[in-house]
């Protein structure tokens, strides 16, 4: 499991979904949960946090968002030498295998299909911990 003081960024263009995911994460005990409403807003936050020496340790992002999608944000992160290993979870309502394969090819760490329960998210985070250990 991730340390509970891991800095987490939740990216979703729907206010209620951001709120719900943040609530789920704080319910799991995480204390540093931030949010952004699309990839374009998230990118400068991720970049600045890294530059300031207080990087995000996990990004949970929606796929379909205006301005910059989750996959576009992922590609920017993976293309940056400083950030390329940051765990990135796509949280989306697209559950079809073709979409999952597309996301895996783009470099996601995990894939969560909406709607999900706290236990499902916890399991996914546990899996990531084992992957990156």
């Amino acid at each position: 499991m991730f340390a509970l003081d891991t800095k987490i960024l939740v990216v979703d263009d729907t206010m209620m979904m951001r709120s719900m995911i943040k609530k789920t994460l704080t319910g799991l005990g995480f204390t540093k949960v931030f949010d952004a409403n699309d990839g374009a807003t998230a990118w400068p936050l991720i970049d600045a946090a890294q530059t300031e020496g207080d990087p995000f340790g996990l990004v949970l992002s929606d796929w379909n968002m205006p301005i910059m999608t989750g996959i576009e944000l992922l590609k920017k992160i993976r293309a940056d030498e400083r950030l390329k290993d940051v765990p990135f979870v796509i949280v989306t309502s697209e559950g079809e295998k073709t979409k999952v394969i597309e996301a895996i090819s783009a470099g996601i760490t995990q894939y969560v299909v909406k709607p999900f329960t706290a236990n499902v998210l916890k399991d996914k985070l546990d899996q990531i911990s084992k992957q990156v250990a």
Binding site: M20, T92, G95, K114
Partner: protein, 176 residues
């Protein structure tokens, strides 16, 4: 009441859409159970006409659906009190009195998630080959557009602890 030609057309449409509607209903129930931990009860559907009582709809989410056999729209329609109840439940119990612009996306997301479940089930388990558009919101005058459609509209009411809401399925056959 539908005339003969209308009734015949309706019979064909409903036969083709019955399974689709059943999968959609289950997906809607699952969406609310997982997102808000609330139970949704699907009621018997009916054909929309002016004689049916439907609470005034304040907000609807509309999505285009395309399959090999039929295409059309699915609309998830919410009376104000029902929708605000859902927003309160979903948003850490912060209560809302009005449907503010920032809440409208919630209706789109609910439809998107339910449709995602239905699509995965139909396309992967049954090779339905269904595609859909990005949902859009209908408010104010735009809400009348689906009741003025020339195609039959199948309405399914759903009961929740916050009141009723509805799905409107408006489908036409592709081989016409």
């Amino acid at each position: 009441m539908p005339n003969g030609k209308y009734a015949k057309r309706l019979k064909v449409l409903l036969a083709r859409d019955k399974h689709f509607q059943s999968v959609l209903n289950r997906a809607i129930e699952e969406t609310f159970a997982a997102l808000m931990e609330i139970k949704i009860e699907t009621k018997d559907g009916f054909i929309y006409n002016e004689g049916n009582f439907i609470e005034e709809v304040a907000l609807a989410a509309n999505v285009g659906v395309f399959t090999l056999e039929f295409s059309g729209n699915i609309i998830l329609a919410f009376p104000k009190a029902t929708f605000l109840g859902f927003c309160t439940k979903l948003g850490n119990d912060v209560s809302h009195d009005e449907i503010k612009p920032e809440l409208i996306d919630t209706a789109l997301e609910i439809l998107n998630i339910a449709l995602g479940i239905a699509k995965t089930r139909l396309n992967e388990d049954e090779r339905f080959e269904m595609a859909s558009t990005i949902p859009t919101a209908l408010v104010g005058k735009d809400l009348s557009c689906f009741t003025q459609n020339s195609e039959p509209i199948f309405v399914v009411p759903y009961e929740s602890e916050f009141g009723r809401f509805f799905s409107f399925s408006v489908f036409g056959l592709n081989d016409d």
